[in-house]
């Protein structure tokens, strides 16, 4: 018996990533269903106070109903809009600066020192300052998303530009390409996967920052504001659970988009994926 267990672990460790897709999907669904059933039984059998944990079926039903609720959807859109505008601005700011800074060895070392200096300040610590500067509206959210997202994109762009194979650059120069042409046709494509990784990291941070600002600066629209109001009213707990699930769905959706983009554009590049 122990012998067979040993053999199996050896196989499983080697095979784990390549177990058939259908089986993995089935097991994943089973896992979710078991969790659902356990939660449902816990509350139906009065083992857990339903004021703390409403029945899972009720939470799911509430999630479904707020997803089509015309009063809830603008809150989700408000969150997503602030996030998207901030991300676009951050890319427009960080990528050109990163390309400039990454092209020179000295500036590269100096900029790394500066980034290490500024990075420890958690971006949410700047929320109070942003409230004073920009008020409590969308502008404030966008400004904070830009600040928090610029750093990972900048660092990754600088790193990517710095990491370009010098032989490839010399070769391009040997073929008579000018400085700009070398940047556009050798350095940029080679740095692109790193830039993308930076944007992907920044996207997660940006979402954290948007939700945080919404929790603190009530009055502005957004899923964070909505959830905090529901939790303060104390009445319908399943609404708070449903809001948390929607927040998770937003995260999953954005993550899936980025994985898709990664596969489509950078499937050829191994290091970009290893950089996670």
């Amino acid at each position: 018996m122990p012998a067979s267990w040993k053999v199996r672990t050896g196989q499983v460790v080697a095979q784990a990533p390549s177990s058939p897709r259908g089986a993995r999907l089935r097991r994943g669904l089973t896992g979710a269903a078991v969790l659902f059933a356990v939660l449902e039984v816990l509350t139906r059998a009065d083992l857990v106070d339903p004021r703390y944990l409403p029945p899972a079926s009720k939470i799911l039903a509430t999630t479904g109903s707020i997803l089509v609720d015309p009063e809830f959807l603008p809150e989700v859109l408000g969150t997503l809009r602030a996030w998207a505008v901030g991300m676009v601005l951050a890319v427009l700011v960080a990528v050109p600066i990163g390309i400039l800074l990454g092209s020179s060895q000295k500036v590269y070392v100096a900029s790394r020192a500066l980034v290490e200096l500024l990075r420890p300040v958690p971006s949410v610590a700047l929320i109070p300052l942003a409230i004073l500067l920009f008020g409590r509206g969308t502008d404030m959210k966008v400004a904070l998303v830009v600040y928090a997202s610029v750093w990972p994109i900048l660092i990754n762009t600088i790193y990517g530009m710095h990491d370009v194979d010098p032989v490839a650059k010399d070769t391009a120069r040997g073929f008579g390409l000018g400085r700009l042409a070398v940047v556009a046709r050798v350095s940029l494509p080679s740095a692109a996967p790193f830039v993308y990784t930076g944007i992907r990291v920044a996207a997660a941070i940006g979402l954290i920052v948007v939700v945080s600002t919404e929790l603190l600066a009530g009055g502005s629209e957004g899923i964070g504001t909505w959830m905090l109001a529901r939790s303060a009213s104390g009445g319908e707990r399943e609404l708070v659970y449903a809001g948390t699930i929607v927040a998770g769905l937003i995260g999953l959706g954005l993550n899936a988009l980025f994985v898709l983009g990664d596969r489509r554009w950078f499937g050829w590049h191994q290091r970009a994926r290893g950089d996670e």
């Binding site: 896992g31 100096a110 939700v211």
Partner: protein, 281 residues
Amino acid sequence: MVGATRSDRLTTAGGPSAARRLGGVANAVALRLAVLAGFLVVWQLVTTASGSIFFPTPVEIVERLWQTVFGGQGTPILDHLVPSVARLLGGWTIGSLAGIAVGLAVGASGRLRDYLDPLIHFGRAIPPPALLPLFLVLLGLGDVMKVAMIAFGIVWPVLLNTIDGVQSVDSQYLDTGRVYGATRADRLLRIMLPAAAPKIFAGLRISLSIAVILMVISEMVAATNGVGFLLIQSQRTFRMLDMWAWILLLGILGYVLNTALLAVERRVLRWHQGARRGADT
């Protein structure tokens, strides 16, 4: 050809002058100090020139922080710093230990991972601050809520990295362990855990920065002490200089924690870098 150049570089770097390497380190430190000084000078000049009440000069900010920490007047800073750090480290330790323990179990069994994969990915996808309303409802305003929220928010990167690390353990190590008669617990703790350690530490570093964010946010929304509380209080009463002093304090706290974790990592993983260098030569 590229491979040849790289190994050339390796031999020169590994071989001769420790003095030159020392010079390189000194250079890097000097450059870093120069960048820091330049940054401070520019900051000082810009804020002095603008005269904006929102942006006090760095000299004033440092002075204010120094006064509150060592001046002995007003709020004793320890009453706020200690609870903050305690919540942060408490939540981070609980979440990390849970993540490593569950990650080892799940990673050692491919089947268990299949069952839990969607749930783990969903847990990770929730932006951690979005958990705050739920934890407020469930656990109230106290310290338990903050520690629980930090633990729940940071467990996912540790868990995923541990699973990943365990699953990428070289199967030769496991086979060797089996040949030498290692028990199941031995293999888990003495082969898989060390082999997964580099990835686990990567997860711990990510989770530390998330823990700082969650500590600040939870103290801003619901607390009567802590650095996050001080920060939001100073904003509400328009005390700009105090606000900047607390931002600086949080920056220092983040830097110290990160440096401490890096030092631990370097110590714990010394064998790892050594092993790699051995493999190179």
